[in-house]
């Protein structure tokens, strides 16, 4: 269990603005409005001030929304605040970018304050599908932005792709994958389209505008796994792939996203910004999903927390076990015990046996993890390991 006195080493910041809302997106974000963004930046600075005393970030992640939509000036304000509050110097610091909003001077600014990783939401390299998804950028912008980022000195870049998009054929997916390999990014994040309530895409599905082809989605996933492997990436989580300096991997590939690994391993993190969900010493919190309310709270000097939740120790351990199994390396038994206080083999014996019997998991002296086949059923594994 993390020590009460040690500061929290992970920070997430949510930037709730986008130039335009994508068809599939259920994240909290709104179309940008200059005045509101300024107000948000000041509230965020206020929020940083409130938690800085308990933070010594090893990983930082600016997600959204579209963090790259903030202007140079706004970024400067945030970064200087972080400097003042002693929040710089993270080992891994990621900022999410939309290919349409990357500029050379923004990239240089970020780099100069210590941002060392960029995650770019590409989603597809097919113009029609980009349209279909409501993305605001073109193929060309992706190539251009990637070059800008490299030129600014970013040597750790992630690209996001989606498959099983309505209208996406296997051929289109293969082409996209082939082109994705050609970028030579250090990290890939590839996942199946999810239909979330309250998104236009979901409404279209419900209205019968298209149907889900489960077989094709499976085939695309298989295609993904083989292609990225050939391209020199190592899967370390269901939807995440990264490069490694050598062929041998110890726990994770070198370029795995440390910030995200901390989530899956049940580590603490502060989360700032509207709708952001944090997890600090066993307590999950969620900020208001309304930028106006978020700002009002902070302008009064208060945290903008909408809800808090603290699970009983065994339930919390169950949750940690469940989400850790999404990673190829699963759970080092000692680490699990150290983090939760519970012994995985004692408290989840029937579940472990069931997964082993089906050939969906492997157990060694030190480690329990899902097999390649088992990873396909990680949701079911998670369900089994949750304690209710």
């Amino acid at each position: 269990m993390s020590d009460r006195s040690e500061p929290i080493t992970s920070l997430y910041v949510h930037v709730p603005f986008c130039a335009h809302k994508c068809e599939y997106c259920a994240f909290y974000s709104e179309a940008s409005n200059g005045e509101m963004i300024n107000r948000y930046v000041h509230a965020l600075i206020r929020e940083m001030e409130l938690v800085a005393h308990d933070l010594k970030p090893r990983t930082v992640f600016f997600g959204g929304g579209t963090p790259s939509i903030l202007t140079l000036r706004q970024w400067e304000e945030i970064l200087k605040t972080m400097e003042r509050l002693n929040l710089l110097g993270a080992e891994e610091w990621t900022v999410e970018c939309n290919p349409a909003t990357v500029s050379a001077d923004k990239a240089r600014l970020l780099r100069s304050f210590g941002v060392n990783r960029i995650s770019m939401g590409v989603q597809s390299l097919d113009e029609n599908l980009l349209d279909r998804l409501g993305r605001i950028h073109s193929r060309e912008m992706v190539f251009k932005s990637f070059d800008i980022l490299r030129a600014a000195g970013f040597d750790n870049i992630n690209l996001d792709f989606m498959f099983a998009i309505p209208g996406q054929t296997m051929d289109i997916w293969r082409n996209t994958l082939r082109e994705a390999m050609a970028f030579g990014s250090e990290h890939l994040s590839c996942y199946e389209v999810i239909y979330e309530d309250d998104t236009p895409l979901y409404a279209q599905l419900k209205a019968g505008k298209f149907s889900v082809d489960e077989e094709l989605a499976c085939a695309m996933y298989d295609e993904l796994l083989t292609t990225v492997e050939q391209g020199g990436y190592h899967q370390y989580e269901i939807a995440n792939f990264a490069k490694n300096a050598s062929a041998a991997i110890n726990d994770f590939p070198d370029r795995a996203c440390k910030h995200n690994v901390n989530y899956w391993r049940g580590g603490s993190f502060y989360a700032l910004g509207p709708s952001a969900a944090g997890y600090v010493r066993g307590v999950r919190t969620k900020n208001w999903s309304n930028t106006q309310m978020y700002c009002e709270q902070l302008e009064r000097g208060l945290r903008a927390i909408e809800s808090k939740e603290e699970l009983a120790p065994l339930a919390r351990a169950g949750e940690i076990a469940a989400f850790g199994l999404r990673m190829n390396s699963g759970w080092p038994l000692a680490e699990f015990k150290h983090r939760t206080g519970f012994d995985l083999q004692d408290h989840w014996q029937p579940e472990i046996r069931q997964m082993l019997n089906l050939g969906y998991a492997q157990l060694s002296q030190e480690n329990f993890h899902l097999t390649r086949q088992g990873l396909r059923y990680a949701d079911w594994a998670a369900e089994l390991f949750l304690k209710i």
């Binding site: 997430y12 996933y221 269901i238 989530y263 079911w380 369900e383």
Partner: protein, 597 residues
């Protein structure tokens, strides 16, 4: 009334030949009931009876009729249940009579139920008055009906009365024939009261009301009577008759029909066909009594497990008016707690289930019906088994016998071939065929009861495009190669689907069940094997292939809480499902399979 002026009779007929219409006519003609009080089909008081056109209870009605000879007679019409399931009740009601009106629809001629009913009446030595009804119909064929009377039923055709119950033709003749032809009741020469209890119903105020026919002596309020078969002595509270509403009388004398009430709380205390006599000076028992035994069993389970107590209470209420219906609690791994219920036959089973659903608003599921098998064990003992769960291991069984029925099937000539094929598919043997007329034949055959339980009647109707009819009477037990078929999901037996079947049919039934299960079991994260097995031998197999994946979506820090809640909800849902071989099967799946089997 003096015995010489009393006539007791029933009406027997194939369904829809006009029994109810004629009964109503008789009630009007005798002034028992005024036309304006008339409700369609007076005697069938349950909704279900009216809807299905079948009489379930035996209703006695007393009419006064002034005959042409100037004398007034007391005519007691005992309406008998119109279905073979209730053949014992029919035989008890018939034994309360000296005669019967046999109705034949002039346009249809003799049908299967006509034959079965006439057999029953003959066994009771009743005087049968043939009535050819519906002569008003344009395609009425009176000559044909007369020929069939003689050829098939051996009843002289010149005795037939031509009638139209609907138009009131021949009613007078029928009433006169009842007076003239049916013998008056005669005392039996016993020392005291001797009466037959032939049905009962439950009245909230009066308790059990028993329908009685007095054969000897008299029945009066205040007497202490003994029920010889149930061994109980009770004090009579009230006696009376029906017109058709109950009315109190001073006493019931030799030959009279009516009811009695006493301090009887449960209908189970009055046995159908019991002999009622003076407790201080008892007479002999009346002939023909049988303990009634259910012929068909099925498990009835509440769909919501929390409805168990409610279901139990409602089964109890139903039993108050249906002493032939029995139930006791049982439990199933798949279906939870429920009741093993015994019925006289398939119609009886359907009626009870339908009343539970409609009158009592119960959501229920019933297991595959089973007959009662006699199991002769290698150690010389004998067992009766109606539930596959209690079937002994095959190596302890020397032989098994199953109940048979003698079935009468009447069908148009052109369908004989298909009908023979159906009977042999149902493991029956045709004993003989008789030509009824130029168009139709009657096939008399011996068929296992278990084979006619499910779809025999429907199949006949569909083969003959509705022109065939079927009735049966119970016959003896016969040895049969019965086996227990188990259905297994990932190696674990699912009790709700086990059944006792003939060896030759086990395979096809196993395959059909496996295929159905495959349809309703949702794909899991691993392959699911569905097997049918007899003893240790597998005879059917289906596989539900595994889902190829259940997740390829991303999940980061902000998604964890929501995702956990979603998974918790799923897990909660599975907890409520039944698990076999670690496969979670939703209850709807069991219901789906039971519905279609």
């Amino acid at each position: 009334m003096q015995a010489s002026h009393i006539r007791n009779f029933s009406i027997i007929a194939h369904i829809d030949h006009g029994k109810t219409t004629l009964s109503d006519r008789l009630l009007h003609s005798t002034g028992t009931i005024a036309t304006r009080d008339m409700e369609e089909q007076l005697l069938d008081s349950m909704d279900l009876e009216r809807e299905r056109g079948i009489t379930i209870k035996a209703h006695p009605v007393t009419m006064l009729y002034k005959a042409k000879n100037g004398e007034t007679y007391e005519l007691n019409l005992i309406d008998t249940p119109g279905h073979v399931d209730f053949s014992y009740e029919v035989s008890r009601s018939l034994s309360a009579c000296e005669g019967a009106l046999l109705i034949i629809d002039a346009a249809q001629g003799v049908e299967a139920q006509t034959v079965a009913n006439v057999h029953l009446a003959m066994k009771q030595n009743l005087l049968v008055i043939p009535v050819i009804n519906k002569i008003d119909l344009p395609h009425a064929d009176i000559a044909q009906a007369k020929m069939q009377l003689e050829d098939i039923l051996a009843i002289p055709a010149d005795l037939a009365i031509l009638a139209s119950a609907k138009q009131g033709i021949g009613i007078e003749d029928i009433l006169e024939a009842i007076v003239e032809r049916i013998p008056a009741p005669k005392p039996t020469g016993q020392p005291s009261l001797q009466a037959l209890g032939f049905d009962s119903y439950f009245d909230t105020y009066k308790g059990v009301v028993t329908h009685v026919r007095v054969f000897n002596g008299e029945l009066k309020a205040g007497m202490t009577v003994k029920l010889l078969h149930s061994g109980k002595s009770v004090e009579v509270k009230e006696v009376g008759s029906f017109n058709p509403k109950p009315y109190v009388r001073d006493k019931l004398e030799v030959g009279e029909t009516g009811y009695m009430t006493a301090n009887i709380k449960s209908p189970k205390d009055v046995k159908m066909g019991d002999t009622i006599t003076d407790s201080r000076n008892p007479s002999a028992v009346l002939p023909g009594f049988k303990e009634i035994h259910p012929m068909v069993f099925s498990g009835i389970y509440p769909i919501n497990t929390s409805d168990y107590e409610h279901l139990k209470a409602n089964l109890g209420k139903l039993q108050l008016n249906d002493s032939a219906f029995v139930f006791q609690s049982e439990s199933s791994v798949a279906l939870g707690f429920g009741f093993r219920c015994g019925f006289l036959g398939l119609l009886h089973l359907e009626i009870v289930q339908e009343r539970l659903r409609r009158e009592y608003n119960m959501d229920i599921i019933a297991t595959y019906p089973s007959v009662v098998y006699k199991i002769f064990m290698t150690d010389g003992t004998e067992k009766e088994v109606d539930n596959p769960a209690f079937m002994p291991e095959a190596n302890y069984i020397e032989r098994i016998e199953e109940p048979m029925v003698k079935a009468f099937v009447i069908c148009p000539n052109e369908y004989i071939g298909d009908m023979m094929a159906l009977i042999s598919e149902k493991r029956g043997n045709v004993d003989h065929t008789e030509t009824l007329d130029t168009r139709r034949v009657m096939l008399t055959s011996l068929i296992p009861l278990n084979e006619i339980l499910i779809d025999f009647h429907d199949r006949i109707k569909s083969i003959t495009r509705g022109f065939g009819s079927m009735d049966y009477e119970h016959a003896d037990y016969r040895e049969a190669q019965m086996v227990k078929l188990d259905m297994l999901v990932n190696g674990e037996s699912v009790d709700a689907f086990s059944c006792i079947v003939h060896r030759d049919k086990a395979e096809s039934r196993g395959r059909a069940l496996a295929a159905k299960l495959k349809e309703v079991i949702p794909p899991q994260q691993y392959q699911v094997a569905i097997q049918g097995a007899i003893g240790g031998k597998f005879i059917a197999r289906e596989t539900v292939s595994a889902l190829r994946k259940d997740v390829t979506a991303k999940c980061y820090g902000g998604d964890i809480s929501r995702k956990r809640k979603l998974l918790e909800k799923q897990k909660e849902g599975k907890k409520r499902m039944k698990s076999f071989g670690s496969v979670n099967i939703p209850q709807e799946a069991f219901i789906e399979v039971l519905k279609t089997s």
